[in-house]
């Protein structure tokens, strides 16, 4: 039966998750150079169009339609056929199915938007659209079905992912890794300074992301109940712990706590706790946040050493965060917190940890390989993924969009 409270909660949560995409656009755009601001923003915004269309016509059905062999949903929900204000019989049974559909749509949008941080300042707009559309179909929808779909094979094997550590963060992190490898570094890497053009913009983005994340993780309970509350609390605590840890490590390492470090740590903590949020205690969330702050910092520093041009650290934050978070869930999960979840290592169930690692391996490998292939195909079809060298020097805003971000 439909609950007004749950409906209200998930509708507002959907709005919050939608807001994360502009938030992400600003978070990323603040970090690029002044000549690539709009190009970066648009890559995120346009995902709202590309993915929403895809989602309405096939994505929702592939992810949550009637199961086909555990691998994908069939297309019986094409164009939202049968998706009405009656609840689904399988998902979120206390809210209209339209609410569930649109809430999930917001997740599908932000996932490829996350990838744009890795390709920033050099990828052509058209090929990116084609790639992201193909990626949604080939990577996002199936993985979403495996993990969250009724009948999905990973879910059936017991893999848990509360709000998208595998489905959102790991897939986008692996796609980012693939994109960095295929695209190669920005011109001038190592010689020029790629200093953020506006950190206040990045911090504004961080604030909006944090705010939206309450809808992302809290709403993933799909009801306004104690699980939602637990996920909400865990989200906040991991975010703050990640921020604390990154800042601290930086302070020790470089004698300076930085604002970008605080923002990065916060996002690391928030991303990392995502798969675990509804299944763990507040104290475990704090520990996960601390681990996230430390590991993502290390990953990003490591990247800097090897000259790997993941422009805005999608691999180091979302990829690593997705892995750590999913594995940490294998350690900290507790049925005492959420009877619908599992017991993890600390509750004496090492097997579940294994299950989670298996989930990471499968999703990570699949997302990486599929992304590489899709990028290569896109490269061939579009005759090149990167903008011309002179356009890269000129900046995407002018060369790809005939605009200038600021005219003060």
């Amino acid at each position: 039966m439909i609950s007004g409270a749950d409906t209200a909660f998930i509708l507002i949560s959907a709005a919050l998750v939608l807001l994360m995409t502009p938030g992400l656009a600003l978070f990323y755009a603040g970090m690029v150079r002044g000549k690539n601001v709009l190009g970066t923003i648009l890559q995120s915004f346009i995902m709202i169009s590309v993915i929403s269309i895809e989602w309405v016509y096939i994505g929702y059905s592939m992810a949550f339609g009637p199961d086909v062999a555990g691998f994908v949903g069939d297309l019986s929900f094409f164009a939202l056929n049968g998706v009405t204000s009656a609840p689904s019989s399988e998902y979120a049974t206390t809210i209209p199915q339209t609410v569930f559909m649109i809430y999930q749509c917001m997740f599908a949008i932000i996932t490829p938007a996350l990838i744009t941080g890795a390709i920033a300042e050099r990828m052509r707009f058209g090929p990116f659209l084609i790639f992201s559309l193909a990626w949604a179909i080939v990577v996002y929808n199936p993985v979403c079905h495996w993990v969250w779909g009724s009948g999905g094979w990973l879910g059936a094997r017991g893999v848990l992912d509360f709000a998208g550590g595998l489905v959102v963060h790991l897939t986008s992190g692996m796609a980012a890794l693939a994109a960095v490898i295929v695209l190669g570094p920005r011109k001038g890497l190592g010689r020029e300074s790629f200093i953020p053009h506006s950190l206040p913009m990045t911090l504004l983005g961080t604030g909006l992301l944090w705010f939206g994340w309450f809808g992302f993780n809290g709403g993933s309970a799909l009801a306004a109940d104690g699980i939602a509350a637990g996920a909400f609390v865990a989200t906040h605590l991991a975010g703050m712990a990640g921020m604390a840890m990154w800042t601290l490590v930086e302070w020790i390492h470089y004698k300076r706590p930085t604002t970008l470090g605080a923002a990065s740590g916060a996002i690391a903590g928030l991303a990392t706790v995502t798969p675990a949020a509804g299944f763990i205690t507040p104290n475990a969330a704090i520990i996960i946040g601390l681990i996230a702050g430390f590991c993502c910092y290390t990953a990003v520093s490591f990247k800097n050493k090897i000259g790997f041009d993941d422009s805005l650290d999608v691999v180091g934050i979302h990829g690593v965060g997705g892995i750590i978070g999913t594995i940490c869930l294998g350690i900290f999960a507790s049925k005492a917190v959420n009877s619908g979840g599992a017991d993890g290592l600390l509750a004496g169930n090492a097997a579940f940890l294994g299950t989670q690692i298996f989930g990471v391996a499968v999703v990570g490998a699949y997302a990486f390989i599929a992304s590489i292939i899709l990028l290569k195909i896109t490269d061939i079809i579009c005759r090149g993924l990167r903008v011309k060298e002179e356009d890269e020097i000129l900046g995407l805003d002018q060369s790809s969009h005939s605009e200038t971000a600021y005219n003060m």
């Binding site: 300074s193 200093i195 390492h253 470089y254």
Partner: protein
């Protein structure tokens, strides 16, 4: 007539402006510039990467003055801009051949 170009530390601007004012200098033009010199730049940190920023914000003042005023003006600027620390800046004097006031069309010293 001469053109004086003074590159100074931004926070000394108010000081210099007042000193010039007292001297009766009524006009000048200011540009935000970045200086590179003996004063070392600073390190910036972005996600664990260090960048050396070796261009330092400075302010450039440009004043046209009558030839006989040059020494006095230069000295006043120097005193007002002085901190004694590296990076205090430089003052250059260049020859000027003509000055025209747009509003009136006056030329030469009257136009300053």
């Amino acid at each position: 007539m001469k053109k004086i170009e003074a590159i100074i530390k931004p926070f000394k601007l108010d000081n210099v402006k007042e000193a010039l004012n007292e001297l009766g200098i009524k006009g000048m033009t200011l540009t935000e510039v970045k200086g590179y010199g003996r004063q070392k730049g600073h390190k910036e940190i972005y996600r664990g990467a260090e960048y050396i920023v070796d261009f330092i914000p400075k302010v450039k003042l440009e004043l046209i003055v009558a030839a006989d005023q040059v020494d006095k003006v230069v000295e006043i600027i120097r005193q007002a801009a002085l901190t004694g620390k590296i990076g205090d800046g430089k003052i250059f004097v260049l020859p000027v051949e003509q000055v025209i006031r747009v509003r009136t069309g006056e030329t030469g010293p009257e136009a300053i």
